[in-house]
Symmetry: C2
């Protein structure tokens, strides 16, 4: 059976572009006993994938040149030689690296798949109950440790993780301030997602003054998705004993040189600040706890959600590149 | 009674010098009931005092221009109108700010003083059982959380805090690597204080390579007393889940501009690193725990100790300035 894959053609230097990707056609072998043929239906593109395009030591191995990219996704079973699955089942990967390839079809051992509940919209599994939801939950609650009345600032607030962090912080009784790019996103934060205030970094030449205005009592938790100069502006307004869950640095991912900025250690000492980098894999043994907490909020109607869905297999590279120009609101998904 | 004080004459711009200090003569009033006249015998000079010379928001208020500097110290009672004290008693301050002024004599309410055990060398109270000892104990154990077999790197290792951190880490079963300036200090670390390895930053143009050689298994805890380029060299060798107790940044204290350096957030995320600034005041409610732990080690002969004692009241400014050129080994004390 002939299928298409999108492979990593070359490693990017700085900002990636379409030339780093290539669509190829390959032939899949016949299914062996115990194997399952699936077609990816929804593929997730996420900022962390930029790191996997480099050949660098990180928490998950880099993509290999000449091999398909991969990421979170929901697939449909089209043929099965494992008795536990039949055509039409919606499944996710449960392998050591729980990813689907950027391909129109793929073969998995049945043991590496799990069925999902088809009464819930499948993209929920890539959003609230997936990597973004768990990232927001553990980063905010386990590292940030919010207390009622505290001020929480979130950069990249209109992204999949940021929108959830904001809502979870409000549920904890915090004042929530989001930073995002563009008037439309900022309006969405305050009007649709109940943020107490929002700052448009594209429209504010003096970000430090904007943070001071939005946070009259200073900042107790800075949930950082973006890094760079936006973070510089927030850090000077941190309170004594502030916490910084370090989730992403999308502003820096395309740097070709080591990025330079103000040293933050002196202020971290004088104000006794904690900063902790994390990735969701650190919490693998506690995913059940997070899914339970988030599921209950969903059932209670307490979490709103937005996603950007692009349609068409060939659009995967565009969708990934779009993350770096802030094309998405909420979770970015490609329907295949 | 006429006494001498050393006052802050002006706030330094960058590196302080002798012109920032001035010796003045004042007259103390007669003792009132409940008051005690003391003469400082041992005064501690410490890196954090540099911060108090600026007019900046920090965890303790700045020194005031025209007023005497102050710091930890042991004094002798020379006259008392409080029945709990008599001439010859050795005392320390227990006030809200538990300091002695840089003065040849001072008056305290008896309630702000406590007697110390004269069977222990008085400088112990400024070292192992004082701020340096407690700083080492809480920074290493509470933030660093060392596990046997891990590698601990300490910058400013030949200072009062660094020498204790190294010994406490060895007691926890860690491999201990110290960074200090000069062949003599480095030899002291390995020969007298049982460090597993030591790096002379003044003799090593490629600090990153030196750290790699000294730490074949990478670095699990980086106890940072100095900041700047030495820290840059260590941070690239941190392991996944490394911890950085941020204790001091002496390399940066005399900067007049915001110091610039490589942004560390990306590596903190990819390796899930924790960095926490602290000052010993955060642990005020737990001092008893620390003193008990350290006292037991002292009694068991398990902690070695070194101090640099300068003699003469007029040498206080020199001793403080000497900290910034690394003049001291271990705790720097002025005998008055």
């Amino acid at each position: 059976m002939k299928i298409k894959q999108i492979i990593l053609a070359s490693r990017p230097k700085g900002m990636p572009d379409k030339d780093n990707f290539k669509t190829v056609e390959i032939t899949l072998p016949e299914l062996k006993p115990g194997e399952v043929l699936v077609k990816p239906r929804y593929l997730s593109v996420d900022p962390y994938m930029r790191g996997r395009m480099n050949d660098a030591k990180s928490y998950i191995p880099p993509f290999q040149v000449g091999q398909p990219l991969e990421g979170g996704g929901v697939a449909e079973v089209t043929e099965s030689k494992d008795a536990q699955f039949k055509a039409g089942d919606l499944v996710m990967s449960t392998g050591v690296r729980p990813f689907l390839p950027w391909a129109t079809a793929a073969i998995f051992p049945g043991g590496d798949l799990r069925k999902i509940d088809s009464s819930i919209p499948p993209t929920t599994y890539l959003g609230i109950l997936g990597v973004p939801g768990l990232t927001a939950y553990f980063g905010l609650l386990d590292i940030g440790k919010p207390k009622a009345g505290e001020t929480v600032v979130i950069s990249g607030a209109a992204g999949a993780v940021g929108l959830l962090v904001g809502q979870l912080a409000r549920i904890q009784g915090c004042r929530v301030v989001g930073i995002a790019g563009g008037a439309e996103k900022v309006k969405m934060l305050t009007d649709n997602f109940d943020f107490d205030a929002a700052i448009d970094y594209k429209g504010n030449p003096d970000m430090s003054a904007a943070v001071a205005t939005a946070c009259p009592n200073g900042v107790d938790i800075y949930f950082d998705n973006v890094g760079g100069e936006i973070s510089d502006a927030v850090i000077t307004h941190l309170n004594f004993f502030a916490r910084i869950p370090l989730c992403g640095q999308i502003a820096l991912y395309n740097s070709t040189e080591v990025p330079i900025g103000p040293r933050i250690q002196p202020i971290m000492i004088t104000r006794s600040i904690l900063m902790q980098g994390f990735t969701i894999g650190n919490y693998a043994t506690r995913f059940g706890e997070g899914v339970k907490y988030l599921s209950e909020l969903i059932k209670a109607g307490k979490l709103k959600y937005t996603e950007t869905v692009e349609e068409g297999f060939e659009l995967l590279p565009d969708a990934l590149l779009g993350l770096f120009s802030g094309k998405n609101s909420g979770k970015m998904i490609v329907k295949v």
